[in-house]
């Protein structure tokens, strides 16, 4: 007799536990405002990333097309996986030759977004941008030259 009662008891408690779980899911069906899904491609216009988000390395340029990079290669040394490659050149300023950057090459495909290059820069020339849509069809497009054509170093940066 006892085993029969236990048998029905187990069925009752089992069904009750299932109903309890269904009550949670049922609550969210009837309260659609509590659902927090973001409709990503549609909400692109309003989507705002956090300011510290590390998306890619960019070289800052001002309105005169001038940047702060002296070509000291501190970021190249700090980078753990060789994402940054600086090709220097000699330019003539006031009659003497000074080292400057020819190309600031950035291999996005190798970058792990660790952010070690940013504090390494002595002149704060590079920052991490918030962009995150890096997918391209051609791999060679991921190798970027960060200094804009015709840009030169700002006055007074050494």
């Amino acid at each position: 007799m006892k085993s029969i009662i236990n048998y029905f008891k187990e069925i009752f408690w089992g069904l009750k536990s299932l109903v309890k779980g269904m009550a949670v899911t049922g609550h969210y069906i009837t309260h659609p405002k509590e659902i927090i899904t973001q409709q990503y491609p549609e909400n692109k216009a309003t989507l705002k990333m956090f300011e510290r988000f590390r998306g890619e390395v960019v070289l800052l340029h001002d309105e005169n097309n001038e940047h702060k990079c002296t070509g000291c290669t501190a970021c190249e040394v700090a980078c753990p996986n060789g994402s940054i490659e600086i090709i220097p050149k000699r330019v003539e300023v006031d009659g003497r030759k000074v080292k400057a950057i020819d190309q600031f090459v950035y291999h996005l495909q190798m970058c792990t977004m660790c952010g070690l290059c940013i504090p390494a820069c002595p002149t704060d020339a590079i920052v991490m941008a918030n962009t995150f849509e890096h997918a391209v069809f051609d791999r060679s497009k991921l190798t970027k030259i960060l200094n804009k054509p015709g840009s030169k170093i700002m006055d007074g940066i050494k």
Binding site: L15, K20, T112, P119
Partner: protein, 373 residues
């Protein structure tokens, strides 16, 4: 009649089956070779190496600042704690005492990492057993923690927030408010987890008494973390070898004696409550001060050996550095919890049905890049 029974062809033979490396419930690229007798498992043989990246070798060529970001790629669900282990070992070698502010912030983010790891585990655990609902609920709550990380550390998963001697940046002004909001929110939501899975009769029957691991076996296999504690092995590094701010907070070490899948499940759910308790004690008392101590641009450790262990969401994680006085270590060894926990899988799964193996693996909470490195 008797002749037929004794016929060799009717005797059961061992049958081999490959589980993985692409099996969805192996959480990555783990290959298990199972020897089966019908549906019953006779032997489990894990085959590793599908995601080996030789991180330990790479560390021998990197500077100490650069090593930190490689540990993100091992146990990616508790990456902040891994980072901290390397930083603690380097700080121990340099004999640097980090400010109180750093200690408290690191502890808070440690516990947030543990929470987010357990939330993901809970979601995936339900999905392994055939309930996709729990996956969505687990990820919904985890999203709030990843937002906190993204705002303060700059990334959602591979945070790289620690540097030898402190932190990358100070905490974001919104950090305390967001964390407190999350704690109040999650205290309401955690009972939902119980209602959905813990009390469910189907779930209970698939977990109770499956994959038993005794305390002696847990110790001899080196099983740590919630998996070991569910067998009654008191192995919480936070309690026994306290680091950072864990000595100034009050928390319980969750222990169970059953050692089966449901005990491991209960241990992790209880740990979530404990983590929230730890964060609550610290979040209002972050001391003022610097967020890092200045270190040299090129860190050179003196000649010697150092070992530092921390408690990740999966168990004891150790970093062993041998330095010859150069800018990079002579040898660096990681003791990863996943590897030791996996070694006990064969012992636990013998005699179980093949469907139980999925439940056992799920409660071990394996992260494959942590095992393979």
């Amino acid at each position: 009649m008797e002749e037929i029974i004794h016929d060799q062809e009717l005797e059961s033979k061992e049958y081999f089956i490959n589980m993985g490396p692409q099996h969805p419930s192996t959480h990555g690229v783990l290959r298990l070779v199972l020897s089966l007798d019908g549906e019953i498992i006779r032997k489990v043989e894990p085959h590793l190496g599908y995601i080996h990246r030789s991180i330990e070798k790479m560390c021998e060529h990197d500077s100490y600042q650069q090593i930190v970001h490689l540990t993100d790629r091992m146990d990616y669900l508790s990456c902040h704690i891994n980072n901290e282990a390397v930083c603690l070992a380097v700080e121990q070698a340099l004999e640097v005492e980090v400010p109180d502010r750093v200690k408290v912030i690191r502890t808070i983010i440690d516990e947030l990492t543990r929470l987010s790891s357990h939330q993901l585990w809970w979601g995936v655990m339900g999905m392994d057993l055939g309930a996709i609902t729990s996956f969505l609920y687990g990820f919904r709550d985890r999203e709030m923690i990843t937002d906190i990380f993204e705002e303060t550390c700059g990334a959602r998963l591979t945070m790289n927030y620690n540097i030898p001697g402190g932190l990358f940046f100070d905490i974001h002004p919104n950090f305390q408010k967001r964390t407190k909001d999350f704690i109040t929110y999650f205290k309401k939501k955690l009972p939902e987890y119980d209602a959905l899975l813990s009390d469910n009769v189907i779930f209970k029957q698939r977990m109770n008494g499956i994959g038993k691991l005794s305390k002696e076996d847990a110790i001899s296999y080196g099983v740590t973390g919630p998996t070991g504690r569910a067998s009654g092995f008191s192995c919480d590094v936070r309690k026994h070898h306290s680091y950072m701010a864990y000595d100034r907070v009050e928390f319980k070490e969750i222990l169970d004696t059953e050692g089966d899948c449901f005990a491991r499940y209960k241990c992790r759910i209880a740990e979530m409550w404990e983590s929230m308790h730890i964060i609550e004690q610290l979040i209002d008392n972050i001391p003022e001060g610097d967020y890092k101590v200045p270190t040299k641009a090129v860190i050179k450790l003196p000649k010697g050996e150092w070992y530092q262990k921390v408690e990740t969401a999966r168990g004891e994680f150790g970093v062993y550095i041998i330095s010859e006085g150069q800018r990079s270590p002579y040898r660096l060894k990681f003791r990863s919890p996943g590897f030791s926990n996996l070694s006990a899988l064969d012992h636990m799964a013998r005699g179980c049905k093949i469907a139980d193996l999925v439940a056992i693996m799920s409660t071990l909470d394996l992260v494959i890049p942590d095992i393979d490195r």
